[in-house]
């Protein structure tokens, strides 16, 4: 009875603005031979549209696990996760794939560009996934330009690019399908200080243009770009 009431109250109070991401009592348990390991422990959390959130915590605290849930690369063991109003556990595999393609953009620490595709093709790729044909609108090139990538390098393979250039391509790839959410796992972790700042400026600019940016980092200076910091320790939220 009590539970019901609180839930109703919560919904009532947020009538006007529903959270873009809502975690209710989310746990992630890895089943290992040595026993179960709880990487996320009963996490409840709301993230509103156009927030800039940093997730911080010591190594092994569950930051990446958390980001994998938010990016629906993985589903919670228990609890409820809704993204853009849809309960992730009720979606089919294909629906999750389409949400990753259309609603979420990923920026990884090690860039994770497709090695066999050129810089331009890497950015064009999500458009092809979505529209099932090559880009004829010039969007891929435009987005690549907007992240400050040198046009002359478009035909280069990732292995021919510097870290900063690769991360710009990765951000362009994350942006090209105009997702609501940008997820970044230590986006500056493999970059020098100066390049890291350029990339962070880029992400801050995206937030200003209305994107919801969620960023995992253990660097306090980087976290200062965000407007809200979620502290994780041992799979629990210890500060928000």
């Amino acid at each position: 009875m009590d539970n019901c009431k609180t839930e109703e109250e919560m919904k009532g109070s947020e009538m006007g603005e529903n959270p873009l991401i809502r975690l209710v009592d989310v746990s992630k348990v890895y089943r290992l031979e040595s026993g179960d390991f709880t990487a996320l422990n009963h996490v409840s959390l709301d993230i509103m549209e156009n927030e800039f959130v940093a997730i911080m915590g010591p190594s092994g605290s569950g930051k990446s696990t958390m980001l994998n849930q938010l990016g629906i690369l993985d589903v919670p063991t228990t609890g409820e996760l809704s993204i853009d109003g849809k309960n992730v556990s009720h979606m089919t595999n294909l629906e999750r794939t389409h949400m990753r393609r259309d609603t979420i953009g990923y920026v990884f620490q090690k860039f994770y560009l497709i090695p066999l595709l050129s810089a331009y093709e890497n950015v064009e790729y999500p458009l092809i996934l979505r529209y099932k044909h090559r880009d004829t609108t010039g969007k891929a090139a435009a987005v690549l330009k907007s992240v400050g990538f040198d046009e002359e390098m478009s035909s280069h393979r990732p292995s021919q690019l510097s870290g900063g250039q690769q991360q710009r391509v990765a951000i362009a790839r994350a942006l090209v399908n105009d997702p609501k959410i940008i997820l970044c796992d230590e986006p500056t972790g493999n970059l020098d200080r100066k390049t890291g700042i350029q990339i962070m400026d880029l992400l801050a600019g995206l937030h200003q243009k209305g994107k919801t940016v969620i960023l995992v980092t253990h660097d306090q200076k980087i976290a200062e770009y965000a407007h809200r910091t979620i502290q994780l320790d041992d799979g629990r939220v210890v500060g928000s």
């Binding site: 994770y112 066999l116 595709l117």
Partner: protein
């Protein structure tokens, strides 16, 4: 507009060029084995069939009614095919060649030596339709005759030798002059055993023996051996209306059983070719598994940024298809060269090489090669598409 997954596959094949090439060589060998074995079998069948059908393209028709002799103890002889039956046969046979034949046994004398043999009465024009002349020519004059090879050897016959026909003690025996000598025919499958025979013009025969409108045998030589059954049925329906008055025979049963045997041999050698494709399938499977295992991380990237499982599967099936296509094209070209050499070396006759029954083994072998590749790629592709993106991303 090209599919990006196809591009990715092409690039992957190019990146691992040596490995892909080696796997394709397996397919090349498989395609060559299947195609050239198949062509060998087909050419063998076609050429044997051609050789045999010269022998088995003849329908032999004789009377089914036995003439009972007035003299007790005399052997009963066939009544013969009457003129009206012969005309019916001719109508039923259509454009096929119909040859009326008279035959009896006779004694004869050459110089001072007596002999015994068959004597055939044939229209001179008909002789060349199924017999070849080794020395001399077909009868031109009314008293000319062609003789069989045994007779010619045993009696030292040459063109111009004269033969007296009839029992030795008869007076005023008619004489024929040898105008040609036949090669050995052996036991002929058309019932005309000429080796110990004298062949005279039909007018000479009927003048001598009568029976002008009754034939001992009628042969129908069909142009296309495959129609022999139909022609026989037509003749049977036309002539054997109420009761069986004529007997219809042929030697095509022999052809059927030989072609069946050859078919079995072809299947067997095709199966040997098939084994090499199984080996090729294993090597393609191996290369595809290597490709999947080497690209786990890349697959992780593709899956995590929203590539559908089906699209990942497609990418790897394209790769298998490309390997198969390379192997099939190279194999197809090699098949033509190797198949031609094998056929000419083993059969010594390439007349039938480009006939559909033979040459179609090349595209068939190519298609089989590609299909084998795609089938070998099914499991690797399935494995790639069902990876967990997080696990795949972590592997580096």
């Amino acid at each position: 507009m090209r599919d990006i997954f196809f591009d990715l596959s092409v690039r992957s094949v190019r990146l691992n060029f040596m490995r892909s090439l080696l796997a394709s060589i397996g397919i090349v060998i498989g395609v060559v084995a299947i195609s050239s074995m198949g062509m060998l079998g087909a050419n063998m069948q076609l050429s044997v069939k051609q050789q045999l059908s010269i022998d088995v393209n003849t329908i032999m028709i004789s009377s089914d009614v036995v003439r009972t002799s007035t003299t007790a103890g005399a052997p009963s002889t066939s009544q013969g095919v009457t003129k009206s039956q012969f005309n019916d046969i001719k109508n039923a046979a259509g454009t096929n060649v119909v040859i009326p034949i008279h035959r009896t046994n006779t004694q004869f004398t050459i110089g001072s030596t007596d002999g015994r043999g068959s004597i055939y009465g044939l229209e001179p024009d008909d002789i060349e339709k199924f017999l070849t002349i080794r020395v001399g020519e077909i009868p031109r004059g009314a008293n000319d005759a062609v003789v069989g090879s045994n007779l010619a050897t045993n009696f030292n016959l040459v063109v111009g030798t004269r033969i007296k026909i009839g029992p030795a003690n008869t007076e005023n025996r008619p004489t024929v002059r040898v105008s040609g000598i036949l090669p050995a025919r052996g036991f002929a499958s058309d019932g005309v055993n000429t080796d110990n025979a004298i062949i005279v013009p039909d007018t000479w025969y009927t003048n001598q023996y009568g029976d002008k409108d009754v034939y001992d045998q009628v042969n129908v030589i069909v142009k296309d051996v495959d129609t022999i059954g139909a022609v026989e049925t037509a003749i049977d329906e036309k002539v054997n209306r109420k009761t069986d008055v004529i007997r219809i025979n042929d030697a095509s049963g022999r052809l059927t059983s030989i072609t069946q045997t050859l078919g079995t041999i072809t299947t067997f050698i095709l199966a040997i070719g098939g084994i090499s494709l199984v080996v090729a399938a294993v090597s393609i499977f191996n290369v595809m598994m290597m490709s999947v295992n080497e690209r786990v991380h890349e697959i992780g990237i593709l899956l995590s940024i929203g590539t559908e499982k089906g699209e990942v599967r497609r990418m790897f099936l394209y790769e298998a298809f490309i390997l198969g296509l390379i192997g099939a094209v190279v194999g197809g070209i090699c098949s033509l060269v190797i198949g031609y050499s094998v056929v000419s070396a083993m059969i010594g006759n390439t007349t039938y090489f480009f006939m559909p029954d033979s040459i179609l083994y090349v595209p068939e072998g190519m298609v089989i090669g590609i299909v084998v590749c795609i089938v070998s790629g099914l499991y690797p592709a399935w494995k790639a598409s069902n990876m967990d993106p997080i696990d795949a991303l972590r592997s580096e």
